[in-house]
Each structure stands twice: as structure tokens, then as C-alpha cells.
């Protein structure tokens, strides 16, 4: 089963970053069902810092998953098993020299009899909006974004990314009739690209899938989307005339957008809306580009959980409204998580794994390179030749990079003042830095909850492992198996 995630704009890319970490923990699996997630980014801002982070998260995850082959055993076949494929980045700007609204719509060509069109354009957009360069995004102006995005409707027959997407969906339907593909769009309701792209692309996809020429696929394909309400704000620039996003306008834009969506039928099977009563402060203003790099936010994690719900909930026959809220105003605990037992177990096992890998396994393997006989756990999975092979060390380091990224992501989520209370973050994260000290392991999940690392890893063995059971792959699987046998 394939799930196509179309991540629109900067918020879409932040959600994908969360999706990568959740996928690693095995969140997107249910029993034997392990869908493949294919990700397409939609963003005019190719150099966006958030996009680069998401790209990095996908690459880190893919580098790690290729080393964990068939899963661990039939009861634990979901850790690092979800395949994430990157379909690419689609930018609505088809031509490299057309980054202004006036260029895309050939404003300067409306002369003579067609001057009235130019006048209409002048009514809809200010001179600054017509002339501003949009290669760093739509600057928080959905009106600009919508105009650019609608060009896709005219160009869809020749747009390679979209042809590939529809082709893949069609192919999936033929090969897996019992597990039809799903399409999930995500973005913000208050930004530029997300606010403009979500309805436009949603309609476009629904129209493509509902086309008799393509076999009326919409009946079979589950289509859903997630809209993030404003959840962060940033200081605004003094220049009131300049064209850029202003966070003080987010609520107003959101209200207008929600009224609009209330009147539209997007033909989505499910729509998720996520928001927070208080917005997080982003300290630095950025117009776009590589500077636009926000810290991860717990709402993006919930967006990832919404994707999980979307994947495993059957196509609904009728519209439903389901609400989610938290128990306390200033805190987000495990009680506030949907499917809390499974989500908690998987995220916690991944945290324990990451911490042990960084604080005990990697230092131990470094020692074992020259003194294998002194490292008990290494002797079970390596011999004197294999411990020195560069291929093994590529795997060890790939897993190490993932572990650091995962712990850092969780650390930032806990540290950004939302009141997340899932782990004892002081045991592994402080002011932007990871703390890797094996003596902190007992306090990782909750103070004093766990025993020392050596107690956890003394039972490492190849027994009952599925597929490769030696080397780094075997060690990683054995470690995860041992941790999952004594969860929470």
C-alpha cells in the first residue's frame, strides 16, 4: 500500500520532518500493514531552510532503513521498516526567469484592447505585489500563491511531476487492488504556499482522479488533508509597505480561510485541522530562503499522528467530526496522544535504542576495533575481520546519525515551552546540545524508571532474529528486540 504525502510550503516540510522520525519509530505500521510513504514537496522556495532540514531527515532515515533488512522478527517487524521515498520538489515556477507575478501573467503584454485586463490586475494586486520576487516563496500572500498555483491547471498535461504522481497512483491501483493508495496533502492555512496550494492542489488531484479518462479513481483512492492553524509568530519588520508575511495577520487570514473552506467541497474523505491556543515565538524574522528554518514543534508531531490515523482509518461513508484536545492547559502528556499505548511504546523504545546506541554501543565498538576480546556484546556479532570493515562502520555511523537526529528532535520539542511531558528531557538534551552520558539512561523516560544500560544489554543475542543476524544489522535488531521485551 502506498501513501502519497504532498507537503505544501514550509509547514508541509516541517510535518515531513516529523513524519520521518515517527516512521523510524514504527508509528506508520499496524500489525502486518506497513505502507510505503512517498513524499512530494511543493514549494517555490527551493532554498528554504525548512526544506533542507526535511531533505536531510529523509536522507538520514533512508540511509538507516536500508541497513535494517527484514525487520526483527514477526512480532517486531515494524521498526525502521516503513519505506520513505522522495518523489522530488515541485515548484510552480516553470521558467527560471519568471519569478514575479507580472512575468507569470505577462502583465506587460496587456496593451491596447486588452488594457482592461491590466486594470483588473491593478485592482487585485498592488504594484509591489506584482513586482516582488517570489523565488523565496509567496511571502505569506495566499492571493499571490493561488494565482501562481492555478497556472498548474493549465499546464497539468505537460507537468512531469503531476503526470508521474497520477501514473503511480494508477499503477498502484492495478497492482494492489485490495490496498488502494492514499493521498494526503498537508500545509498551513495561514501561510503563502500552504494556504494557496492546499485548495488548488486538492481540487486538482480530486479532478484528475475523478476523471472518466483515468478510470474514476477517486472512488477507490482515499484523499485527505491536514491544515495547520497558526501556531507560531515572529517579529515583524517596520516597513509596512514591503511585501512579506506578517504573523499578526495570521489569525485574520485563518478566519477568512476557514469561512472559505466551509463553503467548498474539496472531495476529501478526511480533513484534519490542528492548532494551539498560544503561539510559539520564533525569534528571528525570515522572508524566506535558507534563513527560514523554524525549530520543530509538537503540533507537527501531531500532524504526523494525524497521518497515521488517516492511513489506518477506513474510507468513511459519511462525514464525521472528531475532536482532540489535551487534559491540561500548560501540559501535553501521554494521556493526550491518540492510540497512546502503541505510540508511547514505539517512541519510547526508539528513544532508549538511540541513547544506548550513542552512549554504549558506538564507544564499545570503537574499542572493539583493536580489542574485540574485551567487548562482550561485540563478540556476539562481529569477528576480528568484520569489526574493521568500512561497510560495517558506514552502517554504524548511519544509525548513529539517525539516533542523534531523533534525540535532538525530541529534545527541541520538549524545550520549546509547549509543556511536552513525554520524556525526561534533561537527561539527554540541554540548550541545543545532546547530553550523552550512559549514567543518565535510568532517568531517560522518567527519573529512576530504568535500570543501567548494562542490565538492558546483557541479554543481547542473535536468537529469534529474522534475516541478517550478524554484524551491525544483527546488533541493531538484537538491541531493539531486547528493549522492546521490557517496554515502559
Amino acid at each position: 500500500m502506498s501513501v502519497y504525502v504532498i507537503a505544501i510550503g514550509g509547514t508541509g516540510t516541517k510535518i515531513v520532518e516529523a513524519v520521518c522520525h515517527l516512521a523510524a519509530a514504527g508509528i506508520y505500521t499496524q500489525g502486518e500493514r506497513i505502507p510505503k510513504i512517498e513524499i512530494l514537496f511543493v514549494d517555490p522556495d527551493k532554498g528554504n531552510g525548512n526544506l533542507k532540514e526535511a531533505d536531510g531527515a529523509i536522507a538520514t532515515y533512508q540511509n538507516c532503513t536500508k541497513n535494517i533488512d527484514q525487520g526483527i522478527n514477526p512480532t517486531l517487524n515494524w521498526w525502521m521498516q516503513t519505506k520513505l521515498e522522495f518523489l522530488g520538489l515541485w515548484t510552480p515556477f516553470q521558467k527560471a526567469d519568471e519569478f514575479r507575478l507580472r512575468d507569470v501573467f505577462k502583465y506587460d503584454n496587456y496593451n491596447g484592447n486588452r488594457e482592461v485586463i491590466r486594470h483588473l490586475f491593478d485592482v487585485l494586486y498592488t504594484e509591489k505585489e506584482r513586482d516582488v520576487l517570489l523565488k523565496d516563496g509567496f511571502l505569506g500572500r495566499p492571493a499571490i500563491g493561488s494565482a501562481i498555483m492555478t497556472q498548474l491547471r493549465q499546464n497539468v498535461a505537460t507537468n512531469e511531476s503531476w503526470k508521474e504522481l497520477i501514473g503511480k497512483i494508477d499503477s498502484d491501483l492495478k497492482t494492489e487492488a485490495n490496498n488502494p493508495p492514499q493521498v494526503f496533502l498537508c500545509g498551513s492555512i495561514f501561510g503563502g504556499t500552504g494556504a494557496s496550494g492546499f485548495p488548488t492542489l486538492g481540487r486538482l488531484i480530486a479532478k484528475e482522479l475523478d476523471n472518466p479518462e483515468t478510470g474514476n479513481l477517486l472512488r477507490k483512492v482515499k484523499l485527505g488533508g491536514l491544515l495547520m492553524l497558526p501556531y507560531f509568530r515572529f517579529p515583524s519588520k517596520e516597513d509596512k509597505e514591503a511585501v512579506f508575511a506578517r504573523s499578526e495577520e495570521f489569525i485574520l487570514k485563518t478566519e477568512a480561510a476557514l469561512r472559505y473552506y466551509g463553503t467548498q467541497d474539496l472531495k476529501f474523505d478526511t480533513i484534519y485541522l490542528l492548532g494551539m491556543p498560544t503561539m510559539t515565538n520564533v525569534e528571528k524574522f525570515s522572508k524566506g530562503g535558507s534563513d527560514q528554518r523554524n525549530d520543530p514543534h509538537v503540533l507537527e508531531l501531531y500532524a504526523g499522528l494525524a497521518l497515521r490515523d488517516f492511513i489506518f482509518t477506513p474510507k468513511p461513508n459519511e462525514r464525521q467530526v472528531i475532536l482532540l484536545s489535551r487534559n491540561k492547559d500548560n501540559e501535553i502528556s501521554w494521556e493526550d496522544v491518540p492510540d497512546k499505548d502503541e505510540v508511547r511504546r514505539k517512541l519510547t523504545n526508539a528513544v532508549r535504542f538511540a541513547y544506548i546506541w550513542l552512549s554504549r554501543i558506538v564507544p564499545g565498538l570503537e574499542h572493539a576495533k583493536t580489542k574485540l576480546g574485551e567487548v562482550d556484546f561485540a563478540l556476539k556479532f562481529y569477528d576480528r575481520e568484520s569489526i574493521k570493515k568500512s561497510g560495517e562502520w558506514d552502517r554504524i555511523n548511519a544509525i548513529k546519525v539517525w539516533c542523534e537526529a531523533y534525540l535532538k528532535w525530541l529534545g527541541i520539542l520538549h524545550a520549546n515551552g509547549i509543556g511536552l511531558r513525554w520524556f525526561n528531557v534533561t537527561a539527554f538534551y540541554n540548550q541545543g546540545n545532546l547530553i550523552i552520558d550512559r549514567s543518565n539512561f535510568p532517568d531517560l523516560v522518567e527519573k529512576g524508571l530504568d535500570k543501567e544500560i548494562n542490565i538492558r544489554i546483557r541479554d543481547l543475542s542473535k536468537k529469534d532474529l529474522q534475516g541478517i543476524d550478524n554484524g551491525t544489522t544483527g546488533l541493531a535488531k538484537a538491541l531493539y528486540k531486547v528493549l522492546s521485551e521490557k517496554s515502559i
Binding site: R360, L379, N454
Partner: protein, 162 residues
């Protein structure tokens, strides 16, 4: 495997090593007692053999127990960086059992006013040495927690521990 379950095999190993050491001493006593290994003095076993094996057995067993208690506390936080330190500790604890072997041989390796016959001396030394090795080395090899087991020299001789 919970902690109680993991201690049981270790304590069993410790006991096994000590018991095997004791049994070696008992078998040796039988060999001397039946005259298979001759001695001049009729009460040589009671006056020389018994105190010697008692001293060696008791010293070796006691230090094996000390090593086990140290490793029992240490293994929870043990890392490979401490391997050399742990091995030195093991050897330091071995000093006294070894000294007890040497001293016992020196004090009780006689036969009245004479020296023991060569064959008797060889067997006596062998019994004391084997008894010491079993009571100390074998006990520590079988009882040391798995992640520290390799600290005990030559533990790789056991196929199970390779």
C-alpha cells in the same frame, strides 16, 4: 531474564568451582591414603596434607568470593575502558591464593624430617595447584557476570564463552 535469574547461574558457577576444588583435594587425600602415592610418615596426611589443602582451598575460595562480590557490583556500570583495570584487580586478588600455594608447599611439603619423595612432591604440588585453580580461576570464570567474564584470563577456553 530478571536479575534474580541471572545471579543464580553465577552463584551456581561459584559454588561449582569451589566444590570441584574441594573434590580434587579429597581425591588427592584418597591417593595418598591408599598408598598409591607413598609417604614415609604414617600421619603425613593429618599433619601435612590436610592443613595444606585447607589453607589453599580456603584462601582461593575466599578470594573467589571477593572477586565475585566486586564484579557483582561493578558489572552494572562496567565498560571496556575499565577492562585493564578489572584484569589487574583479578590478578591482584590471585596473589594471595598463589602465595598460599607456595607457602603451603614450603611448610607442609615435607615428610617428617625428610623431603617428600619426588613423585609424592609432584603429586602434592599438582593437587594443591589444581585445587587452587579450581577454587579461584574456575570459580571466577563461571561466576563473573557475562559482560565482565572476559576479564578472567583464558575464559575463552570454554566453548560456551567464546
Amino acid at each position: 531474564m530478571n536479575e534474580q535469574n541471572s545471579i543464580l547461574p553465577e552463584i551456581t558457577g561459584l559454588a561449582a568451582g569451589i566444590i570441584i576444588g574441594a573434590m580434587i583435594m579429597v581425591i588427592g587425600r584418597m591417593l595418598f591414603g591408599n598408598g598409591i602415592i607413598p609417604t614415609y610418615t604414617s600421619n603425613w596426611i593429618q599433619s601435612n596434607y590436610d592443613p595444606a589443602v585447607l589453607v589453599v582451598c580456603a584462601t582461593s575460595s575466599a578470594f573467589a568470593v571477593i572477586w565475585y562480590l566486586i564484579s557483582l557490583k561493578w558489572w552494572r556500570t562496567f565498560t571496556e575502558k575499565e577492562f585493564s583495570q578489572a584484569r589487574i584487580s583479578w590478578w591482584l586478588l590471585f596473589v594471595l591464593p598463589f602465595l598460599s600455594f607456595i607457602i603451603s608447599l614450603f611448610i607442609w611439603g615435607k615428610d617428617g624430617n625428610n623431603n617428600l619423595e619426588t613423585i609424592a612432591l609432584v603429586f602434592f604440588s599438582l593437587i594443591l595447584l589444581l585445587g587452587m585453580c579450581s577454587s579461584y580461576w574456575l570459580s571466577t570464570a563461571l561466576s563473573t557476570p557475562p559482560n565482565m567474564r572476559r576479564v578472567v584470563p583464558l575464559v575463552g577456553l570454554f566453548p560456551r564463552f567464546r
